[in-house]
């Protein structure tokens, strides 16, 4: 149900942020408000919502990567004690073709989890097995299997072909000429395997009907935008659906919709007249809960005597699942783009579920498969990678060369680059262990999403806000409270922030680092205009102009003169009987003094590699990140730590492994789908880059950027350590030893 509000919002403003040094809350560390509830188990996630008389449902996932369904016999399942309802999904009717392992076929709702699971095990399905293909890294095999199709690409050359010249031939010759003229030529193969979202709270919901109204407790990144999905599928109106998500156990771009299993839960609930909880099992979460496309590339590039890349020629391939896809060509090569380039791509269809947007879609893979080639220029020259990256900032296409240069200096100092650097493969070994340094850099938008907020000031001094955003663990709730507290001259504890319900004013989905800007916009706008209304009342009372007043330290006072003042509560009493209520918002893309978009960021890794075992350890890691104005440094840094640690996981451990014959996703459990553990991450240092030039840009999201560079930085550090490129991430011991063996160094 949408929050009722005025269609015509009164014009307000102007809006602004207090200057550095004049803030009481913004820019100062604040512990996350929901921290203790989470740390003591009091926080209720979707999985934790237990409704009276609820059924617990479990689903049968298809065990085959490609098959036809003959039929599903539910009779034995229905007889299992405790089983109440068996639901066959529409896409699993007899004759249906299933194109990936894990696709849900039927759902069993029961009195307990155990009975539901036993019911699922008792379902009998006839499968007709079909050929599958899952080898997305193998371009030749994909072509032979008819699974490859031409993807996007682009050519850019400084010189133009003549009028009667064949364009393709011209480009061939031009690229060949530029490579021939280049002082250094690097030819390489790089790649990164697909990984899964692997949210620790799997996708799912607990739903109940109240008459014709649906209450959905949904694990979602999109509280305000999922009611439509339920409503459309169930043939009801969106205002008959309330979506609630107070806490979400992991959302990195895969939890934007009700999903067909959420719809099915609602149908089963309707059918049985009882609330239903349906969460994916762990293996289902890994198999169908979302994944990041793979990317593999062959590159040939040329660089001048300083290491500046002058020509780039590449072909990359990969897969986003059954529909093909892969890494977008638009971010190849990544950030550092020479004037002359040719990039082409091939899309490969595999028997895996479609990918879902994963933290900075396309960027991490593009960085991993192209900034490794930049580092190989340094290796070919025997030069310092830092200097070669600095030189190639001349190719930065996002206008951030100066920001990167400053961030590189900060990062190099933090990791003591000069003292630890040695040419690739020339470091001193301690026993079988060699160390190395590597770096990479990234970019992202982080524009503020659309967001509305209602602020209420009560005559007793209470302050409350309502906004249909969500707390992903990024610190959103705390940021909302800090913005209100700053505006009203109160403490964070004085304000109550309400989020996580679709009954509140609309706020956009949390994806693409758009939330901190969104909620900062809506909460600042609503609170600044609410304060103006309150100052008008206070001015009359105090006999001064409203423009002379400020809210500071729990008082409404004449600026700089605490003697002429009202306490916050006294000022609020002037409201009389009725609370002051102001709703304001921001529309994505509108110019604003409060937020903007476009960030850089530089990361550096210091690794140790044991050349006998192939084991890589991250010793130290430095992340330098700009994100405009920082509201809460503590949770801002936590985002960066998190991005880096996810990146360490994808660098060293994480990969979706498919059996090439059966197409089965063989490591879909946490025991075998390896993530980084606390002993694996080394010492991580985070530096927020926030000079005045950044701060005056306003708020920009930083959820995605820090997750982009780690794989390239770590790959480059490994190459620096062992003098050999390990081509494809994750850089497992097996792959490290293979690379050493191929180079004749083991």
């Amino acid at each position: 149900m949408a929050f009722l509000q005025d269609e015509k919002k009164p014009e307000g403003g102007p809006y602004n942020w207090p200057a550095r040094g004049e803030t009481s809350v913004i820019g100062k560390d604040h512990n996350r408000l929901e921290g203790l509830a989470k740390a003591t188990g009091a926080a209720k996630y979707t999985y934790d919502v237990n409704l009276k008389n609820q059924l617990v449902a479990r689903a049968l996932g298809c065990p085959h990567a490609h098959c036809k369904i003959g039929g599903i016999d539910t009779s034995a399942a229905e007889k299992v004690p405790g089983v109440v309802h068996v639901h066959i999904l529409e896409h699993a009717q007899p004759g249906a073709e299933i194109n990936w392992q894990g696709e849900l076929l039927a759902i069993v709702a029961a009195e307990t989890e155990g009975a539901a699971a036993e019911g699922v095990a008792a379902l009998k399905v006839d499968y007709e097995l079909l050929e599958s293909f899952t080898s997305d890294h193998d371009l030749a095999a994909a072509e032979a299997a008819g699974r490859a199709a031409r993807g996007g690409g682009k050519v850019q050359t400084t010189n133009e072909p003549g009028d009667d010249e064949d364009e393709d031939e011209f480009v061939d010759k031009e690229i060949a000429r530029l490579l021939d003229e280049a002082k250094y030529v690097v030819e390489g193969h790089y790649g990164i395997d697909a990984i899964t979202h692997c949210c620790l709270e799997p996708h799912g919901s607990t739903v109940e009907w109240q008459g014709d109204k649906l209450n959905a407790y949904l694990s979602t990144q999109n509280v305000s935008g999922t009611d439509d999905g339920f409503a459309n599928s169930l043939g009801i109106s969106a205002d008959s659906v309330d979506v609630t998500c107070n806490y979400i156990g992991g959302g990195f771009g895969s939890k934007f919709a009700a999903d067909y299993w959420g719809i099915a839960a609602a149908r089963i609930s309707k059918e049985t007249g009882r609330p239903v909880k349906l969460m994916l099992s762990r293996d289902q979460e890994l198999k169908i809960g979302g994944n990041r496309p793979s990317g593999y590339i062959d590159v040939k590039l040329g660089a001048d005597e300083n290491g500046l890349i002058t020509v780039w020629d590449s072909h990359h391939w990969g897969s986003s699942g059954i529909s093909g896809g892969g890494v977008s060509h638009t971010v190849v090569p990544y950030v550092l783009v020479p004037d002359n380039f040719r990039r082409k791509s091939t899309s490969i269809k595999i028997n895996m579920v479609r990918a879902r947007a994963w933290r900075a879609p396309n960027h991490p893979q593009a960085c991993a498969i192209t900034q490794t080639a930049v580092d190989d220029v340094a290796a070919a020259m025997g030069k310092d990678s830092y200097d070669v990256f600095m030189t190639n900032l001349a190719n930065a296409t996002n206008g951030k060369a100066d920001v990167y240069a400053e961030e590189m200096k900060i990062g190099a100092k933090a990791i003591d680059w000069k003292a630890n650097w040695h040419p690739h493969g020339k470091g001193k070994a301690k026993g079988s262990v060699v160390e190395g340094l590597g770096m990479a850099l990234h970019t992202w938008g982080g524009v503020a999403n659309t967001s509305d907020c209602t602020v209420k000031i009560y005559p007793d001094g209470g302050v409350e806000s309502f906004c249909g955003t969500q707390e992903l663990g990024t610190g959103t709730l705390t940021v909302c409270a800090m913005v209100l507290a700053e505006t009203f001259g109160l403490t964070v504890d004085d304000v109550k922030v309400n989020i996580g319900s679709s009954t509140y004013p609309f706020s956009g989905a949390s994806g693409g680092s758009t939330t901190v800007g969104a909620v900062s916009e809506s909460h600042r706008r609503a609170s600044q205009d609410a304060l103006r209304a309150l100052l008008d009342l206070a001015a009359t009372k105090l006999g001064v102009e409203a423009g002379q007043l400020e809210a500071r330290g729990g008082k409404i006072q004449v600026q700089g003169d605490g003697t002429k003042s009202l306490s916050w509560n006294q000022a609020c009493q002037l409201l009389g009987m009725k609370p002051l209520e102001v709703t304001r918002g921001h529309v994505r893309g509108d110019e604003s003094p409060l937020s903007s978009s476009g960030v850089g960021g530089v990361q550096m890794a210091h690794v140790a590699v044991d050349i006998d075992t192939g084991v890589v350890k991250v010793k130290r890691f430095v992340a330098v990140q700009d994100q405009g104005l920082v509201i809460n440094p503590q949770t801002c840094k936590s985002q960066i730590y998190g991005g880096v640690i996810m990146g360490i996981a994808a660098s060293l451990f994480e990969q979706r492994i498919a059996d090439p014959k059966s197409g089965a996703f063989v490591n879909a459990e946490l025991g075998s789908y390896q993530l980084a553990r606390i002993g694996d991450v080394g010492d991580i240092m985070v530096e927020l880059y926030e000079p005045d030039s950044e701060r005056e840009r306003g708020v920009i999201g930083n959820g995605e950027p820090p997750a982009i560079s780690p794989m390239a930085a770590i790959s480059n550090a490994i190459a620096n350590a062992i003098g050999v490129r390990v081509p494809v991430a994750p850089f497992t011991p097996k792959r490290v030893l293979e690379a050493l063996s191929t180079a004749g160094r083991s």
Partner: protein, 203 residues
């Protein structure tokens, strides 16, 4: 883990071995808890099956719950006692998200049969909260050792159990001792700082 060396008939009148025997086939058919199926053994025969009341000591309180042989401690905590701090993350126990303390030692509740917990002292993350929270969750807040928070209760309990046993733990020992838990958001830097601060504070 087994308590079968104790008196075979408990105060709730249940012989654990015969109870388990009764549902071997049922437990084996349960896909979610592969580990518990193995624990149930391969015995067959109509001895005891279905739901039976047992008594458990949870967070200092004696409670009566109903269990089947296959019922895990995690299911009992979450569905019968509404103690939802311990989380269901992995079916093989490899995430540590359902860590609870049983007789002073950390155990994964998702792979622990409820019936094996009789006459043992079970402490869940909720026992570390309340009006006077334990030093570990407070340190998690102070050092922002959590993001989405779904792994956090398991981590908090694991840190508490580890520091109870190793009150003077060094940073390296903490890194080595907490590898049984996993976090997806990447909060390890904060967790490490939180655990170190608890050691320094002597709590």
């Amino acid at each position: 883990m087994s308590d079968s060396h104790n008196t075979p008939i408990d105060q709730d009148g249940l012989d654990r071995r015969s109870f388990l025997k009764g549902s071997g086939a049922v437990a084996a058919a349960t896909a979610v808890h592969a580990g518990t199926a193995a624990a149930a053994g391969e015995a067959t025969g109509e001895v005891e099956k279905g739901w039976k009341p047992i008594q458990l000591n949870v967070n200092g309180e004696q409670v009566t719950v109903k269990v089947e042989p296959r019922t895990t401690l995690l299911e009992v905590l979450r569905y019968q006692l509404d103690l939802t701090g311990a989380k269901p993350v992995s079916s093989d126990g490899s995430s540590g998200a359902s860590t609870v303390i049983i007789n002073g030692k950390p155990h994964v509740a998702s792979t622990t049969l409820a019936i094996s917990c009789r006459r043992k002292k079970i402490e869940t993350v909720e026992s570390l909260g309340g009006e006077n929270p334990d030093a570990v969750p407070l340190a998690f807040v102070e050092h922002d050792a959590q993001q989405c928070g779904f792994c956090t209760p398991g981590f908090v309990v694991a840190v508490r159990a580890f520091l109870n046993k190793n009150p003077e733990a060094t940073e390296d020992q903490i890194r080595a001792g907490l590898n049984g838990n996993v976090c997806r958001c990447g909060t390890y830097a904060g967790i490490l700082a939180a655990a170190v601060s608890v050691v320094k504070g002597g709590n």
